[in-house]
Amino acid sequence: MPYTADDPRQWSPDELRARIPGWGVDSDPADRPSYPKQRFAPGETGAHWELPDQQPEHAPRERSIEHARLTPVFGTVAPLRGLSGAIRRFAYARFSEGRAAHWLLLILGDRVDVIESSVTSLVSGHPDELVSETGVLSEKRRHGIASRFGRGRVDVKHQWIDPLLVVGPWLLASWGAIALVRKVFRSR
């Protein structure tokens, strides 16, 4: 008990060594790979440059305002486009990573992106398959009921929210679109 100075723990190195493969082989903290935390060793990385060549910037690339420059290398997947692109561009140009507005705008951009992409996908002839893309059709094959119930799983209590989160925004958007169309027709 910690109410006195005696250490209550009982353990036996010999027993552990016999039971656990490799027990204690990395016991010395100074011999562990990440010691010391910041070990100056630039020659060990394989880099053969002082500063990497600059990757060509074929289109304006958004960046954090906490950076002094565009980094030498960057990802080029899914460049900014549409309304979601405008929201994200504003988040990067106006707010640092220290501001909640930066991240909240990026999350807003994500949601707008989903709607824009679904519409684009529909027009391009490769529409979203809202059910099969969720993978729920594999429920039976993957023992959905047996995996969830009678096993003391804590997360089952709130899994009913997941379908609402997936389908809910689409229902709301559809309701909004129908309401808008009705309003336009009624005003004529």
């Binding site: 910690p2 209550p8 723990r9 353990w11 190195p13 552990l16 656990i20 493969p21 027990w23 082989v25 016991s27 562990r32 790979p33 990440s34 910041q38 070990r39 100056f40 060793a41 990385t45 880099a47 500063l51 990497p52 060549d53 990757q55 690339r61 958004e62 954090s64 980094t71 030498p72 960057f74 990802g75 080029t76 997947v77 899914a78 990573e97 991240w103 999350i107 994500d110 949601r111 824009e116 992409s117 996908s121 490769h126 809202l130 099969s132 893309e133 969720t134 993978g135 429920e139 993957r142 023992h143 995996s147 003391g152 799983r153 804590v154 997360d155 709130h158 929210i161 989160l165 997936v166």
Partner: protein, 382 residues
């Protein structure tokens, strides 16, 4: 080529994409032979990570064969069988020169708070990942390593993230011989953290989760004592009783942003995205470790604020340590341990699926169906 593509929260599909091109002189193009879905991919899949764009390909755990190299690549050749750390890093910036590969400053224009990660949103640099037939690998002379002849493909795959991260988590706990270590989360990272704690001389290792199949794996694979937190009114009190009311010397959070165990925290963070992550496991770690103890955080959280119990951490005099794992720093030692037979990392793999079944893989892993602990993806071009 075929690639997994994100379509929105909880939705992914396979699309035809262009085979990636060399965009920088030190790039390589790798034909993916095995990829894995990581628990942290689920944060993207659930729409929790800001700037996750529709059309991106996830996957930061992959191995493959070098298909093409840029003009400045000196250490790799076409045809090499390589494993690629999940970190994209340059090897020469202020941080890389000091071994902080996961904190590279030259690869992520979108944020200074995190380095580059394959297939992990634009917040982590906007790179496509390896759940595809081909992937662009920047700084081919720095990150990838030719897989030793004796090493099995699936063991190599586990070396790209899960095993080094678990091992790194145990290291950040600064375990000394005889320490009691409690690991929150019996997923791949938690299992490897528990296993690694023994290598560092732990006297006792306890694993906490609520999924019985994972706790069974923790007992069998990691030789750990286990606690099902759903069976206790208050897991912190249970852990205190189990440690003579002293508390564990070291606690490792191997859960992260979508932790369960407190409905309010989970709903506000994981469902309504009002926090960067649900810090239930982290708060349990803070409260169950002994005064003056160490808390190591390997669970991934988003960049927004989270309701963490810093007051308790301060009053208890805790040391909190955390980082994304600098994978390649761990490889030489972990290869020794695998060769010595101390760890067989592929033992945690439970499912293997073709790339075409990616939606099923994500749903199964996300909903914890079919006893899934670690799903591996096999691209058809493999």
């Amino acid at each position: 080529m075929k690639a997994m593509v994100y379509r929105g929260p909880y939705r992914v599909r396979i699309e035809e994409k262009d085979i990636p091109a060399i965009e920088h002189p030190n790039d390589a193009i790798v034909r993916v032979t095995r990829a894995a879905i990581c628990g942290s991919d689920l944060h993207l899949y659930h729409g929790m990570m800001p700037d996750t764009r529709v059309g991106t390909t996830f996957g930061h755990e992959f191995i493959g064969v070098v298909e093409a190299v840029g003009p400045s690549v000196a250490n790799l050749q076409v045809g090499d069988r390589v494993m690629v750390p999940f970190n994209v890093y340059c090897g020469s910036c202020w941080f890389c020169a000091r071994g902080l590969y996961s904190n590279c400053h030259n690869v992520n224009p979108n944020a200074t708070a995190v380095g580059g990660i394959y297939g992990y949103s634009h917040t982590c640099g906007g790179y496509d990942g390896g759940q595809a037939e081909y992937v662009r690998v920047p700084f081919a002379d720095v990150g990838p390593m030719v897989i030793p002849e004796w090493l099995d493909d699936e063991d190599a795959l586990m070396l790209t993230d899960a095993l080094p991260t678990g091992y790194f988590g145990a290291q950040l706990g600064d375990i000394t011989e005889g320490d009691t270590v409690v690991v929150f989360g019996a997923g791949p990272i938690g299992l490897f953290a528990a296993k690694s704690s023994w290598l560092m001389g732990a006297g006792r290792v306890i694993v906490v989760d609520h999924l019985e199949n994972r706790l069974a794996k923790a007992r069998e694979f990691a030789h750990a004592e286990t606690f099902h937190f759903g069976e206790y009114d208050d897991i912190v009190v249970a852990l205190k009783k189990a440690t003579d009311h002293l508390g564990a010397d070291v606690a490792i959070d191997a859960v992260g942003a979508e932790a369960d165990g407190n409905l309010t925290q989970h709903i506000t963070a994981a469902k309504f995205k009002l926090q960067g992550g649900s810090p239930i496991a982290l708060n349990w770690a803070i409260d169950s470790v002994r005064k003056g103890g160490n808390v190591s955080v390997m669970g991934a959280y988003g960049p927004m604020f989270s309701a963490v119990k810093f007051g308790d951490a301060m009053n208890k005099g805790l040391t909190l340590r955390m980082n994304q794992c600098p994978v390649k720093r761990q490889w030489p030692r972990l290869l020794e341990h695998i060769r010595a037979g101390y760890i067989k990392p592929s033992e945690i793999i439970t499912h293997r699926l073709p790339l075409d079944d990616i939606a099923e893989g994500y749903h199964m892993f996300s909903a914890k169906l079919d006893g899934c602990i670690k799903p591996v993806i096999v691209p058809s071009a493999a």
